[in-house]
């Protein structure tokens, strides 16, 4: 039993729903109590879908238990087939139905429905949403894909995008364009937009582009063995990764690598002088393994940030993320406990968080800017405009998105210069962010929150504390922490103005 407050992933049947809702012509019959229908709102409200997810819930009640929950399932299954006439169905149990052991798969089989019915075994008490999506897609592909003749033109499948995925809609467009430049067509994109009949012809492609390992790696592995389809290992998020991806695809397809960089702005935006202020900004990165790995590379190599910590919530990715962290000289945090992540952020006091919806809230609470790089996300991360993460435009979007929460370069200097000005003071926040002007609060009324990890033995003298407050907000946390570390290393138990500036000189870079 584990106490959980906020969760990064839903239960595995929500993963199955992400696959089913992304597809067309497929229907999911879920043996579940009525409350589980909340999951529909993830798709209709957060993703703003204009259709109900193709899911029928049996909504059994206590009085049905032990008498006819099984019948209820059969009726729901039959009714769903007749109403929606899908090309194929998936059936399974939610956490509660798993306990009453009605065996939806077995029952559906005996019903003799005229379409393929694929049973799902998703252990609700062990696994989570990403596993559910990966396993569901894997079972669908196994059941429906058959060896078929290859397309005459070189084609690839785009594999992995689902409903409720972070920017999946736009990544598809971007990757399709990347392939097209090399003369490679798209055979099938799945699950997003595919019907069961499309899954049957996955084997006609020459290779698979695995866009999101979280949701489709098992299917790609199976297709590699059974359909002789190799798959790409590079996820093209960031400039470097996009170049690597192009090289990998060229190699797999036997074509000349080609990448049109006319629209690519990130390298120049990073090189231009205004970006000087980005140098060495301390970032903490957290999300799903794939997006974290991509973000770490961009942060260090393409933005010039310092990665001070990273981690992922999906245990399936623990191994590669641990290895990655070692490369970056940090220790990986592998946890799906929001409070662990918050504690880590608090201890590291980064200047920027790259995370999920959860980290956005952590950042808000701790006053640290945050940009979102990974699911789970909220409604504002399904923007109306085109904003992929992958490919050339993805790199441009990422530059803008990550820089946005920060105070701009020139503005940073102005804040240093005019930090005591009554309008232009640091509590007012960055000028390009919305919100009403905040009048300056007299310093005395505003106790500075001590850093979480203040060693007990060290105290700040009043004048040093006052001096600290003169430092702009976006570097104050770092200055406090550095000074305390500096003092602790030297065995000082009191911090004066001198200590503050000695530490500043010590850490100067």
């Amino acid at each position: 039993m584990k106490l959980s407050v906020w969760t990064y992933e839903g239960p595995p049947h929500v993963g199955a729903m992400r696959v089913a809702t992304g597809m067309t012509g497929l229907h999911y019959v879920l043996h579940a109590p009525q409350g589980d229908t909340y999951a529909d709102l993830l798709f209709t409200m957060i993703e703003r879908r204009n259709h109900r997810p193709p899911v029928t819930y049996t909504t059994f009640q206590a009085r049905d238990l032990g008498s006819d929950t099984a019948n209820l399932f059969k009726t729901a299954c039959q009714g769903a087939y007749e109403r929606f006439k899908p090309q194929a169905m998936i059936v399974g149990a939610s956490c509660t139905a798993e306990l009453i052991q009605d065996d939806p798969g077995g029952m559906a089989e005996t019903m003799g429905l005229p379409v393929p019915v694929i049973p799902l075994e998703l252990p609700s008490y062990q696994r989570k949403e990403n596993f559910g999506a990966d396993e569901t897609f894997h079972q669908l592909v196994r059941a429906l894909a058959r060896p078929v003749e290859k397309t005459p033109q070189i084609t690839a499948n785009l594999v992995g995008p689902t409903a409720l995925g972070f920017r999946h809609r736009d990544d598809i467009t971007e990757v399709t364009a990347l392939l097209e430049e090399m003369g490679i067509g798209v055979n099938v994109t799945a699950p997003m937009g595919a019907a069961p009949a499309d899954l049957a012809r996955l084997g006609a492609a020459h290779f698979n582009v695995l866009m999101y390992p979280e949701t489709a790696e098992s299917a790609c592995r199976w297709m590699e063995r059974a359909l002789d389809l190799p798959y790409t290992k590079t996820v093209p998020i960031g400039v470097g990764a996009t170049r690597d991806f192009v090289a990998e695809v060229a190699e797999l397809a036997g074509v000349t690598p080609r990448l049109d960089t006319a629209r690519l702005r990130l390298p120049w935006y990073s090189e231009s002088v205004d970006s000087t202020y980005l140098t060495g900004k301390r970032v903490f990165i957290f999300g799903d393994g794939t997006h974290v790995a991509a973000a770490a590379r961009i942060a260090r190599d393409e933005m010039g940030f310092e990665v001070v910590g990273l981690g992922c919530y999906n245990r399936e990715m623990a191994r590669p993320i641990r290895a990655l962290a070692r490369d970056y000289g940090v220790e990986a945090l592998i946890s799906d406990d929001y409070l662990d992540v918050e504690a880590q952020v608090e201890a590291l006091a980064p200047e920027l968080i790259l995370g999920t919806q959860m980290e956005r809230h952590i950042g808000k609470r701790l006053g640290i800017p945050c940009a979102v790089i990974s699911a789970p996300v909220h409604v504002q991360d399904f923007p109306a405009r085109y904003s992929p993460q992958m490919g050339i435009e993805g790199a441009n979007v990422i530059f803008d998105t990550w820089v946005h929460p920060l105070v701009m370069g020139l503005e940073e200097h102005l804040l240093h210069m005019f930090r005591d000005d009554f309008e232009f003071h640091d509590d007012a926040g960055a000028s390009h962010h919305g919100g009403q002007h905040v009048p300056r609060v007299p310093t005395a009324d505003r106790p500075e929150a001590p850093a979480a990890a203040t060693p007990d033995a060290i105290t700040w003298r009043a004048e040093a504390e006052r001096e600290l407050r003169k430092i702009p907000f976006f570097v104050r946390g770092k200055a406090r922490r550095n000074t305390e570390t500096f003092a602790a290393e030297r065995g000082l138990c009191e911090i004066g103005i001198d200590t503050l500036y000695e530490a500043k000189a010590h850490y100067a870079r």
Binding site: M1, K2, L3, S4, V5, W6, T7, E9, G10, P11, H13, V14, P33, Q34, G35, D36, T37, Y38, A39, D40, L41, L42, T44, M45, R48, R49, N50, H51, R52, T56, Y57, T58, T59, F60, Q61, A62, L65, A76, G79, R83, S94, C95, T96, L99, I100, P123, S124, Y125, Q126, K128, L339, E342, M358, H361, R365, H378
Partner: protein
């Protein structure tokens, strides 16, 4: 005084036939009530004993309301807990110990049952009893079910309040009890109106803090502020309290009828009643009239959601000039909403329970001007050209009593005004 609402219908709907269908329900389970109950009871913690699904439901229903460490959480059952029951019981108690140690601010702890905990027959009552004995008097531990196999959406609040009743101290005081978790601002308004009429011995269930001296006994009379409190109603009657039946305080008419029933019980002089209510009644009518410009003559269709459907249909038809095509409710408790049914025009279609696909067919055929439904259905129906109002807002927004009557009407008129305001075609 001029008449602003029509006279009650000749027959009303108390004995009207009710359509009952059994198919897929598209409703939340009772766990959802935790979202507003934990804001109301400021020293209570709600510990759901359930699965990852339950935790995810709470998070999704809470939307962006993320607090650093909210006063609710889910003890997620794992494979090991399912293997041996004795362990789960011990595990739960250990979790509670850790929680109470960390959160010294907690004075009431609710162990909330879920479908999984009920299917495996985890005995939360016993756990609550043992934990209560161990932590009294600092913390009181109670339990109730918010499971989807037992409760629908607002029934979670009912189960929670009903669980509190047996633990209330006894009293012989002649007093009024207001029952239902209302936003503080609304509750204060109600208490103020009652005080102006001279009714001052009033307690509220649930109280904002555990140490408020809410008690109950044979001289207690109670008035429900929410229509979904059937279980609490029964629990209070078992403690000897007596119910004051009345329509619910939605809109000018409902609020006046509700107050009048209470005033009559306490022998308030009619002149005094009018003196206290005349001004706010006029304000409420004025505010509702604005929204009525949009709502008048429009039709409305209710999907079952919170059990507020019957009182709201009464408000919209009688005060806002709307026509109710179908009033769906998860559960029709005639003992509680009888007075409301009397005011619904004869011939209004009532339905209880749900087969969502069949009901969607009826809704599409009826083409109402406004459809009141859950979050899962709203956008798909909008995409089909139907204007919708999310039902959940009706329980998350202050809508009771006079000063909110205009806001309540506004919740329904806004989607219609919005649709009329959007001009997305080319100008030509």
């Amino acid at each position: 005084m001029t008449r602003h609402t029509p006279p009650p219908p000749a027959a009303g709907c108390r004995n009207a036939p009710v359509l009952k269908q059994r198919g897929q329900h598209e409703v939340f389970c009772g766990l959802t009530g935790i979202i507003w109950l934990h804001r109301k009871m400021q020293d209570a913690f709600f510990l759901v004993v359930g699965s990852r699904t339950c935790a995810h439901l709470l998070q999704s229903a809470a939307g962006v309301m993320i607090f650093a460490e909210p006063r609710f959480g889910t003890a997620i059952l794992e494979e090991t807990d399912l293997a041996g029951l004795a362990d789960a019981q011990e595990e739960l108690e250990a979790q509670v110990e850790r929680l109470l140690e960390r959160r010294g601010d907690i004075r009431q702890l609710f162990l909330v049952g879920s479908c999984p905990s009920e299917v495996i027959k985890l005995d939360l009552a016993r756990a609550a009893e043992r934990l209560s004995a161990r932590h009294a008097p600092r913390v009181r531990v109670l339990n109730y079910s918010g499971s989807g196999i037992e409760t629908t959406f607002t029934e979670g609040e009912d189960a929670c309040l009903a669980a509190m009743v047996p633990a209330l101290p006894a009293t012989d005081r002649r007093q009024l009890m207001l029952v239902g978790a209302l936003p503080d601002v609304v509750e204060d308004q109600a208490l103020d109106l009652l005080a102006q009429m001279g009714i001052t011995d009033v307690t509220v269930l649930p109280a904002r803090h555990a140490d408020s001296d809410v008690a109950v006994g044979p001289n207690t009379v109670f008035a429900l502020t929410q229509p979904f409190l059937g279980g609490t109603h029964a629990a209070l009657e078992r403690r000897g309290a007596r119910h004051i039946p009345a329509p619910f305080p939605f809109g000018e008419e409902g609020t006046t009828a509700w107050l009048r029933a209470v005033a009559r019980e306490f022998g308030v002089d009619p002149a005094r009643f009018d003196a206290v209510t005349d001004a706010p009644r006029a304000r409420a009518r004025h505010a509702v009239a604005k929204a009525t410009e949009t709502l008048n003559g429009k039709s409305v269709f209710f999907f079952p959601d919170s059990q507020l459907e019957v009182p709201l249909a009464r408000f919209l038809t009688r005060e806002c000039g709307m026509e109710a095509l179908e009033v769906g409710t998860p559960y029709l408790h005639k003992g509680v909403v009888g007075a409301e049914l009397d005011l619904l025009a004869d011939g209004t279609a009532l339905s209880e329970g749900q087969d969502v696909d069949l009901q969607l067919d009826r809704c599409r055929a009826a083409r109402p001007d406004l459809t009141v439904c859950g979050l899962g259905l709203a956008n798909p129906l909008e995409a089909e050209g139907l204007t919708t109002k999310w039902a959940i807002e009706l329980v998350f927004t202050p809508v009771h009593f006079y000063e909110q009557a205009g806001d309540l009407a506004g919740l329904f008129s806004r989607p219609l005004r919005r649709r009329a305001a959007l001009k997305l075609e080319a100008a030509e």
